[in-house]
Subunit: 334 residues, 2 copies
């Protein structure tokens, strides 16, 4: 199970995790894709090491090229590093023991300071991220423009360089169809929704990542405040949708939840998409008190553990993975 997932997180019936990510670059050094393999790429890494690998800190440093494929996949599927960082050979990362803090080095920007929290907890994630920022800033002179703010490789990050994301589990709004109206209205609030593995990924398991679209011309505080307003509203609507479903289509909803439970407990093989959708419904059932099963944290953890990459192994076919996945699920669901 992902180490950063904690029990008793805030609003964990709906919110899986909160992530704050700051993009930072060193002044006077070209962006990563321009300096691959050069001495200056080393300089970027050394600066981060000086900032974070100190006495009393428990961070570890790891070059991406030193990671096994299975390890890379695990880190991506547990949302600890980005697919982009994992797919290159030049990058590195600095990790806290519980992997809730990750400094990605040499991804799109020199640094991506990332803090992950279980549940819905924007304030703590932001506080952690800015502590990291302060630590790094002691060793690094940032590329910063007084007019624009922090300069970044991609213009969409210029300004605060901050992206706040909350991962939400929305089976109620998905079943009721209310999700469509919400998704189409998000843009009006400067907020965007993606599937759980970022841009272009599908909302498997009814999981959506809600994050701020705008980083320029607004303060970090206002970005957070705006996102929190939207996310709190969605969480409220999701709870309402679940209760309305239970009230109006009780037998239908109970049936779908209990069938999902039965399949998770007994299927001999199961693909990722069906597994996510069944776990999603069982989690909703736990939230509604229809079913006693694993806690939400355990179910969110299981959702990550059963991703294809996590289950790949020497010579394993997709069919083999489906069998291994089903066994893992059978052994976990109670």
């Amino acid at each position: 199970m992902a180490l950063w997932l904690k029990e008793n997180a805030l609003d964990s019936d709906v919110a899986i995790s909160t992530r704050v990510r700051l993009a930072r670059n060193l002044a006077g050094i070209p962006f990563p894709h321009r300096i691959a393999g050069t001495q200056r790429a080393e300089q970027v890494k050394e600066t981060a090491k000086r900032a974070f690998l100190r006495d009393g800190m428990d961070f570890s440093y790891q070059e991406i090229r030193g990671l096994s494929p299975i390890n890379k996949t695990r880190l991506v599927e547990q949302h600890i590093i980005s697919r982009e960082l994992a797919s290159g050979n030049e990058g590195a990362m600095i990790l806290s023991p519980d992997e809730s803090i990750c400094v990605m080095i040499g991804e799109e920007d020199h640094y991506r300071l990332q803090c992950l929290r279980s549940g819905y907890d924007v304030d703590t994630a932001m506080k952690m991220a800015f502590e990291l920022d302060k630590m790094l800033n002691k060793e690094a002179e940032y590329a910063f423009d007084p007019e624009l703010g922090y300069l970044t490789s991609c213009p969409t990050n210029v300004g605060t360089g901050m992206r706040v994301s909350v991962m939400l589990h929305l089976p109620g709004l998905t079943l009721s169809g209310g999700i469509r109206g919400i998704l189409s209205a998000l843009g009006n609030f400067g907020v965007t929704a993606r599937g759980c593995y970022g841009e272009g990924s599908e909302a498997a398991g009814d999981i959506y990542q809600i994050s701020n679209q705008v980083t320029l011309g607004v303060s970090e505080k206002d970005i957070a405040k705006n996102l929190k307003t939207v996310v709190s509203q969605i969480i409220k609507k999701e709870r309402e949708a679940r209760n309305a479903l239970l009230h109006n289509q009780g037998a239908e909803v109970k049936d779908r939840i209990w069938r999902s439970y039965g399949l998770l407990k007994y299927a001999w093989k199961m693909d990722t998409s069906e597994a996510l959708s069944c776990i999603s419904l069982v989690n909703m059932g736990v939230g509604l008190g229809i079913i006693e099963a694993n806690t939400s944290d355990e179910l969110y953890g299981l959702m990550m553990d059963i991703m294809p990459g996590m289950l790949s192994g020497e010579g394993r076919t997709a069919q083999d993975r489906d069998v291994v996945r089903a066994r893992m699920i059978r052994n976990t669901i109670h």
Copy 2:
């Protein structure tokens, strides 16, 4: 559960039941549809009562018009009386305590002497039927032609008046597709296949009723011998199909069986067709040793118990029945 279903029946992994039915009519009295409501219809009933309601015999007599709708439905769904007898008001029946023997009076013919056995047991069922025949013949002069044999209301029964049916559970041949070839070849052997509720009914739950087509110009012994040759062959092919499926598509088959088990154990509502198909697969799993669950007899009994008629009640909608059915199944499957 149907009273006539017994434990440890012969070949019960594939064969649900064996039925022998003899059509008999009284000489000099028109067929039932011509004498409805007349004194002569009473005479037909009285003759049967004299034959079967004697000291030392444990038979009971019942007029159809005295049965509640739910009782009629139960008798039909447990294969004890025909839909035709149940739907009229004129008929009657004589039943043994375990309902394995039923004399239907005033259906299409004056008498239908029926013996039901669990599993595959043509010899015993025939022996029982001819004992009934002998008892009735003591009181009744049959309509009999030395050339043709027993005369019956429908020409397809003329001759021996005998129909031998074996109800088979063929999920292996259904899954492998082998069933099609078998069904189309049956005609060549003077044998026919129907769904489990007789002519025109679908093969729900992969259950087929195999019976002799020809009753004229062959002896009872030859009819039985021929049918047994065909049925033994189908049972053999079904076992081969199940083993081949397990060997060649083990994960697929196990998955379907275990999923069916999971749905039976946890679904909140379930329609007849899905329930039959899931019970059918679990029964195959029990036969193959893949799963430990209820015995075949229990599963066949459950198949009858969950028919719509058995679950209908005061003001119950189809949706209510699906909920009641699922609950009954959950409480039965172990």
